[in-house]
Subunit: 438 residues, 2 copies
């Protein structure tokens, strides 16, 4: 097969055959197709798209490029995937609740890059917590506690890993077919039999419009179904950072607060909506009413907090911070920030906030950047809030004082405050779960 | 500047600024942008296009990447460029006529690759003929004889050379903006103040439709104009191979026959149409009538043949073949081919013929393939011809008998003969010359 002819076929907007997709990806992985041909192909896919059958085949090749984990069918394992947002610690508030209700949750998670944080980084701000467990340990954890959050080994979907790195540097990240294959291959390879997707929509998400989000959701569901995976999708609003805290240890603190009963509306509503779908898909609740009862009970009884503690201890962490969050890494300095003018918040540039916090080492600029777990921000205001000039917007936590004026300015300037009324957002836009009648 | 942001800008169908184009191309040439980013950019340009201003800037950067040749303005130099066809020896029939009429024709030409032949290869089938002359020699030749056909030095538009090589392997060749920059940069760098483009349209050309050809013509004219170059475009039909002979020495023989007065209709009409525009643009004729008179006279008086001889001798060639074409390289074997059925020729797959003749070494499979100058074919029939089963189609000339049955079969099968009438093509579809009232 001639790689140029295959590129030209996609360039001319013709679907590739399963053989062509397999040949192209495998040849790239074994270095017989060079990067410059793969990047031309990726751009052609970005601009001309792929049909569901092509995405399915691509996903299959990604999965078969490496190791996979399999759990007994009767476990009805369930995972959650978020398409990424600033302050998104929902994996941490959600998984202990759902595991406390008896579901089995195999989670292979990632580190943060750019303006969004990674679940593993947040957990690693806990003293002793480890994520580098083997496939065997992973299975044992799931069997025993129902929950494990580990890092992706080199052996899991290596094809996606290499192609993702190339997408990142060739301007081809935000392609629905490529995103679908990337998400689904990981979630199927890790052994999730059911999946709930938190699909972020809004100014702070990489998908700005609901139409696009629905197109992605449909593709994810179609591909998942072909692998026998049941998928529910929750479209959630990402116009304001989630919760109050952004930063690794700060988000662990907020998680503990939540599991202890301090319920900020956005975190609370989103956590429970996702938990409902996870319980329904995993068969731990028959209907929405039962799901809600179980969720409320798991929190109020302290079982969710206990499950969180079990997770921390199971993976080598010192759980003392659960009783006293001051034991988490603490920043040396903090500075309050204030509204520059009066009015309603019409927009918050979450991405700009995320990048500003990278400068206090709350996130990574490059793959090898060193994080400072204690730094970050507490931001109190959301889109739709009314402010007076000089009102407290929040507080920035940092360890190195250089540039802090500039960083605070960037964050203050990411709030667009106007003289006209602005309606607050609803955190849940819509949910799709074709497997269960809600 | 961040290369990924620049790729994303073009990917999102936004025009690039002159600074961005310059940065991107220069960084690629100095190896600070890798091939995989350039190929993603090329695919984005292929699929989203470029505005004329962007093409102009790209052309300018190509030109400035290397050496240029300049001639006095009063010379009104004129060149011809063909977008490529099978059996296209028109440069050789045309240039001596136009030079004999007093025009100055600086030609920097190419070698053949794939199914089309290159003018330099044809000339190099002449014993002793050289094409590797310096810029200084080139200028001296033009001053003295009015004509020179040399090869592109490494110093001429190196940016196009490198990017063309990448386009070839990334499926991004047939892009109108990229084709325009590639043609125009070379033609401006070589010092052509006027240019006539033979824009091939049809099944044997890379442009199949007149609409696309007109779009390319408009872009070529607009960009040329910005550099002060005057351009005429002749849209010619490329449904049948041009003339009768295909192959390096065979086309030299056909050129000599033509200049001696043996006028096959397609070669004759196309040569004269292009010559008219070259004489008008270079100011050697005031109107079409005068141009035709001068052309006819140049041929019938033998001045065109003399100019051809002057060109051969000037560049080191042994001109004896002009009196006796048997002195050109002769193939060891020949085989006649015949029509398989009766009817009208509806289509000739010139590309398939070109590739079949690559197998007798008349063309190059790869850049380093060795040519056999004597091999090729004489093909007598054109689209619209009526045939009886068993009629002579032509003759194949070859030196190595292996595979010759298969090669002959391929050529015979490239004629689509049907039972219904098919109108012959007109070689000239249309001409544009906005500089002269015809």
């Amino acid at each position: 097969m001639n790689p140029v002819e295959t590129i030209i076929k996609k360039r001319n907007n013709n679907p590739l055959s399963p053989t062509e997709i397999e040949y192209f990806v495998k040849s790239y992985i074994n270095n017989s197709i060079p990067e410059y041909q793969m990047s031309a192909m990726l751009m052609a896919i970005f601009l001309n798209g792929m049909q569901p059958d092509e995405v399915y085949k691509l996903t299959e090749i990604y999965i078969n490029s490496g190791d996979t984990v399999k759990f007994p069918a009767e476990w009805k394992t369930v995972d959650k995937h978020s398409t990424g947002g600033v302050g998104d610690k929902i994996t941490l508030t959600l998984a202990p609740i759902v595991a406390a209700c008896g579901a089995k949750i195999p989670m292979i998670s990632g580190r943060g890059l750019g303006h969004t944080g990674g679940t593993l980084d947040k957990l690693e701000s806990i003293n002793g917590f480890r994520t580098d467990y083997s496939k065997q340990d992973f299975s044992k954890f799931i069997e025993k506690s129902g929950i494990a959050i580990i890092s992706q080994s080199k052996e899991l979907v290596p094809a996606d890993k290499r192609i993702y790195a190339l997408r990142d540097v060739s301007g081809t990240v935000e392609s629905l077919p490529l995103i679908t294959a990337s998400i689904m291959s990981k979630k199927i390879a890790e052994g999730a039999q059911n999946l709930v997707i938190d699909l972020k929509v809004g100014s702070g998400a990489f998908i700005k419009k609901l139409d696009t989000a629905k197109e992605l959701a449909e593709l994810l569901i179609t591909v998942g179904e072909k692998f026998g995976q049941k998928i529910a999708v929750v479209f959630s609003c990402m116009n304001s950072p989630l919760g109050e805290y952004i930063g690794n240890a700060l988000e662990i603190k907020e998680t503990v607060n939540y599991l202890k009963g301090k319920h900020l509306p956005d975190i609370d509503i989103l956590t429970k909506e996702l938990a409902i779908h996870m319980l329904l898909l995993s068969g731990k609740a028959r209907d929405k009413k039962e799901a809600i009862e179980k969720i409320e009970n798991a929190i109020s009884s302290g079982e969710a907090l206990n499950k969180f503690r079990e997770l921390i201890i199971q993976q080598g962490g010192d759980a003392g911070f659960i009783e006293n969050t001051d034991l988490l890494p603490q920043a040396k300095h903090s500075r309050q920030i204030f509204a520059k003018c009066s009015g309603w918040i019409h927009e918050i540039d979450s991405q700009a906030i995320g990048y500003a916090l990278v400068e206090v080492s709350a996130g990574r600029r490059q793959l090898d950047s060193v994080l400072n777990y204690s730094s970050g921000a507490r931001l109190l205001r959301k889109v739709g809030d009314r402010l007076q000039e000089g009102d407290l917007l929040g507080e920035i936590y940092f360890n190195d004082e250089s540039n802090i004026d500039e960083i605070c300015d960037k964050i203050v300037n990411s709030y667009s405050i106007k003289d006209s009324f602005c309606e607050p957002d609803s955190i849940i836009i819509e949910s799709i779960n074709k497997w269960i009648s809600l």
